[in-house]
């Protein structure tokens, strides 16, 4: 599972970087999106991948006194990733607005607002 997960992050990040360096604004936007997906997965992975492990303590187990932390997933990265998704979504939406404004004002989707050889 780790290999697949790591490969997924790697492919997303690599595509993201490539798109980020392209000259068209929409490509840059997609690049930023892919990069932030890769980052979100990465943050989640930093809490270690675990299957069938709840992130919160079971009340019945907690009352028993014996708690084995290895049976639980780390809840902190999940909270972090949620925050990161929300913030990333908002800022990307803002980028989209600027992108459209630039397209409307210059008539081109080049990041510099004009075609390179024009």
């Amino acid at each position: 599972m780790e290999i697949v997960y790591a490969l997924g992050i790697g492919i997303l990040a690599a595509s993201g970087v490539w798109l980020l360096l392209r000259p068209r604004t929409f490509q840059v936007l997609m690049g930023l999106l892919l990069l932030s997906y890769a980052t979100n997965l990465f943050i989640f992975g930093m809490g270690r991948l675990a299957q069938h492990a709840p992130p919160i303590l079971d009340a019945a187990v907690a009352a028993g006194g014996e708690i084995d932390p290895s049976r639980y997933a780390d809840p902190v990265p999940q909270a972090l990733v949620l925050t990161a998704i929300v913030i990333g979504f908002a800022t990307t939406a803002l980028f989209l607005v600027v992108l459209l404004a630039l397209r409307g004002q210059t008539g081109t989707d080049h990041v510099d607002g004009r075609e390179p050889d024009a």
């Binding site: 980052t39 943050i43 992975g45 930093m46 809490g47 932390p69 290895s70 913030i87 800022t91």
Partner: protein
């Protein structure tokens, strides 16, 4: 009383948040109410900053004996809850950002805040992000406050519209979004290895890690450092900065002066808390030097005053990073003094730029594209686009005295930027160089110290040349210039900042004594760590998370 005073720490964050939100509910027509609310909020921040300065100093040892105040949000103790921490450096930064914000706000009230768009709300959120970034004691919380201030700055930067502004705004947003992604990657790596995001808890954790984990932790810290350097405008990550800052409207650019300092603050804070990262110094020194060199060349090449001021921001960033990179502990206090002076100077200079730009009204506008046509949004709905220049004619005085005032203010700014006596720019650079030279015999690399001194002096000379050239064109080549109409409220903040600069020279001794104690406590992070972590004594401290 002291229980109430403890809540001062959270005030600079909560007040602008409430004020900014409240403004959304005020009708567009109720401008006076909005302005009053904004002024009250910023003034509260400044007052809270000054109070924090006093409470963390040695003069008031009864609340926070060691000068470190901790405010656990929601009552959860560190390292599990998020804490706000105020120490002397944080108090200085909050006061500084309050001062800059108040000046910029008063300046903006004259006309810049008129048309559409929630200027005042965004402004409040920007100051909230600034204060939050200075006060937080948690790495992820720092990210959140960075995003708050950046999101607000995107909106403010685009204010006024025009093709050029939108084009540079796109670059600005793209660069900062990439920086935020790097920030997140760094934070995630650090959490994954150390199992905590509390800054005080992180201090000293790195040394306890096994070698393979340590390597990843170092990588995380390095990525985080790159993110901070982007925000601070360090070479080679700063090509967006002069353009963005010079195209933003004057009051916005004036507050942006504080934003590069946030990156520097973060480097300083984490670098001193995690002592092992003071070894990053060598890299910091050379990037600082490169920033200084490129910015000096940029200053000499800049044609417009606003762009020149943009490069002067980079000059100060370069000097600050290069000085920090020398790893001489005695240098930290002069670095802080220079930081304070350069933030005030930049703020003043950008506001001045906004006023002198109007002398060029008869000429083509600064960027010809600006008046290219209405923004598509307005055109689509058939609305006449509101213009920031709408209120230009009419009120205001057109006297020769106006030119004299602008000229004097310009001279003050030049003295401050280039570090000539008698203004504190000189004191700051002098203290920096004198301390650096004192440390030469003990320094690991004396050559680096000499290099820094030479670079600082050369950049000063280059600054004088560039600024006097622009100044002559602005004030002495009278043909085709109109004497600008000036409103009292626009001139007042600039005059107030000049007075503040003069009083910084007069009261340099107590100011420096305070900054000195701030620097000393920075280099002895034990008190900080103890203050933050002692809150949890009520519970048994659990072992570090076993991954």
């Amino acid at each position: 009383m002291s229980a109430l005073l403890r809540h001062l720490v959270v005030l600079p964050i909560v007040v602008p948040l409430l004020a900014g939100t409240l403004m959304f509910f005020l009708a567009e027509s109720r401008r006076t109410a909005r302005v009053a609310l904004a002024l009250a909020s910023v003034f509260t921040q400044l007052a809270a900053g000054v109070a924090l300065l006093y409470l963390t100093s040695d003069a008031a040892p009864y609340i926070w004996p060691e000068g470190v105040g901790v405010y656990p949000i929601g009552g959860w103790p560190a390292p599990f809850g998020i804490v706000l921490v105020v120490d002397r450096l944080a108090a200085v930064m909050v006061t500084l950002s309050g001062t800059v914000a108040l000046a910029a706000l008063v300046y903006s009230v004259t006309r810049w805040d008129r048309p559409g768009q929630p200027f005042h709300s965004l402004f409040q959120f920007l100051t909230m992000g600034l204060c939050g970034a200075f006060l937080t004691g948690d790495l992820f919380n720092l990210f959140v406050f960075f995003e708050v201030l950046l999101a607000a700055s995107y909106g403010l930067m685009l204010r006024g519209g025009g093709t050029e502004r939108v084009r540079l705004g796109l670059h600005y947003v793209a660069v900062n979004l990439t920086g935020s992604i790097l920030f997140l990657v760094g934070v995630a790596l650090i959490y994954g290895m150390a199992g905590t995001l509390n800054m005080a808890d992180l201090a000293g954790r790195a040394d306890a890690l096994a070698p393979p984990e340590r390597a990843l932790f170092d990588a995380g810290a390095a990525i985080l450092g790159v993110a901070f350097l982007i925000k601070a405008g360090s070479w080679p990550l700063n090509f967006w900065l002069p353009g963005t800052y010079s195209i933003a409207i004057a009051p916005v650019a004036a507050v942006f002066a504080m934003m590069t300092k946030v990156g520097l603050y973060a480097v300083l804070r984490l670098g001193t808390l995690m002592e092992e990262y003071e070894t990053l110094g060598a890299a910091l020194f050379y990037t600082g030097l490169a920033t200084l060199a490129t910015a000096t060349v940029g200053m000499l090449g800049a044609k417009h005053l606003a762009r020149l001021v943009g490069y002067s921001v980079l000059v100060s960033t370069g000097i600050l990073f290069a000085a920090l990179g020398l790893r001489i502990e005695a240098l930290t206090a002069p670095v802080l003094f220079y930081l304070v002076v350069s933030a005030l100077t930049t703020c003043m200079f950008f506001m001045l730029t906004g006023m002198t730009d109007r002398t060029r009204q008869t000429n083509p506008p600064v960027s010809p594209d600006d008046d290219a046509g209405p923004a598509p949004v307005y055109a689509a709905y058939g609305i006449k686009e509101p213009s920031v220049h709408a209120g230009d004619q009419g009120a205001g005085i057109a006297l020769p005295a106006v030119m004299a005032f602008l000229g004097m203010a310009f001279v003050c700014c030049v003295l401050l930027v280039t570090g000539l006596p008698p203004l504190p720019g000189f004191l700051a650079k002098f203290a920096l160089l004198a301390t650096a030279l004192d440390a030469v015999p003990a320094a690991e690399t004396p050559a680096a110290v000499w290099l820094l001194c030479a670079a600082v002096l050369v950049s000063g000379v280059a600054g004088i040349i560039a600024l006097s050239r622009v100044g002559m064109r602005l004030f002495w080549s009278v043909a085709a210039r109109t004497t600008p109409r000036l409103r009292l409220l626009e001139a007042a903040p600039v005059a107030a900042l000049v007075l503040l600069a003069i009083s910084l020279t007069v009261f340099a001794e107590p100011v420096n004594r305070y900054l000195d104690s701030a620097a000393r406590s920075l280099h002895q992070p034990d008190a900080y760590v103890r203050a933050v972590l002692s809150l949890e004594t009520r519970r048994e401290r659990p072992e570090a998370k076993e991954p």
